[in-house]
Amino acid sequence: MAQNRQSACLPCGKGLCGGKGLLTLKDGAWTNNPLAIQVLGICSALAVTNRLENSLVMGAALIFVCVGSNLFVSLLRKYTPHRIRMIAEVAIIATFVILFDQFLKAFYWDMSKQLGPYVGLIITNCIVMGRAEAFALQNPPVLSIVDGLANGFGYAVILAIIGFFRELLGTGKVMGYTMLDGQWYTPNQLMILAPGAFFALGVIIAIFNWLKGPEVEENK
């Protein structure tokens, strides 16, 4: 079994993550998907998913912050005094979030206006803090990057799916292009509103659990 994992992880070549890379990747993006399984960070997931474009940018933001903060928390894990580790984590996370926010404000002004306060609110996103605390503090940097990527990706994909369906059903458009003709399809305003986000997320969680089957119970 260990052999298998080693060879499965070969693309990275040097065994930088001790052969645990693929498993970490699968864990973050699928088995323990932050949104669909752990149901973390749903506040932002519900708030910005009324358009696919917003969802994609938000997903990108979370991947960036998660990878960056995981890397630095992991690099500093042996030097961080235990008592102030959480404050240190928040400081690192906040730095990355503001970096991304400033970048959006400078180069993607319109998008920044669309997302409003939600980019800044990534600081309080449970996923980022959770990964730093539960994973990056105990694991080496490269593996932590993989974990950050996996979780960010798991979040981003679900966000994109919700965003796609909400925009499609709520406005009849995808990325601003009309998909469902106004002649025979009347956009359902409910999907744009907050309850629509809850329905969409609920359906996705149900599908996710159904696809995954009872495996979760076995793992525990």
Binding site: P81, I84, A88, I98, W109, L193
Partner: protein, 204 residues
Amino acid sequence: MKNNIYTLCYAGILGAVCAFLLTATAQFTYPYKQANASAEKVSNILAILKVPVEADADSRRLIEIFKTNVFEEEKGDLMIYSYRPAGQAGVEAVAFPFSGPGLWGPIKGFLALESDLKTIRGISFYEQEETPGLGGEIGSDWFQSQFAGKSIVNQSGKAGITITKSRDKAGQNQVDAITGATMTCDKVEDMLNNAIKTIVEKQD
């Protein structure tokens, strides 16, 4: 004791590094943000006054058009932007800035009136942090375009505008509210009426 000192030093250094990074980013992005803001302001005023602008005009061109067609004037604490097309004597339209608190943050915008100073030529919100998809819809075309052609006075001549949920939007000073954004709409209504009050006072 030694432990405490280490902890303090660690916190201090981490804080300093983070602060330095953020300051550097803020400094680096400052000119871009500034340019975005001023180009957006100018293009907002041009759009609201319906000044013809080439589709591919960049920020420098926008500012140039602004300078040759629009005249700024300060009356007390009210800024007035009047559009006098080149080679035409009279003022074609006038724009006024307005602002006020929104649900999440300040809302700022422009209200443009035709030369009769009663009929609304257009409205735009250039700064708002309302909930995307709900209050944020004040930035959308359907909401803003309803204002065009409406009047800032009602049938009996009283100044003010109503953002209403009732089905009857026939009134010359009534526009449709946004579903799910009552708070934002109320606040927008308030700030518009404040602005209209000032404009009407300044006319006398």
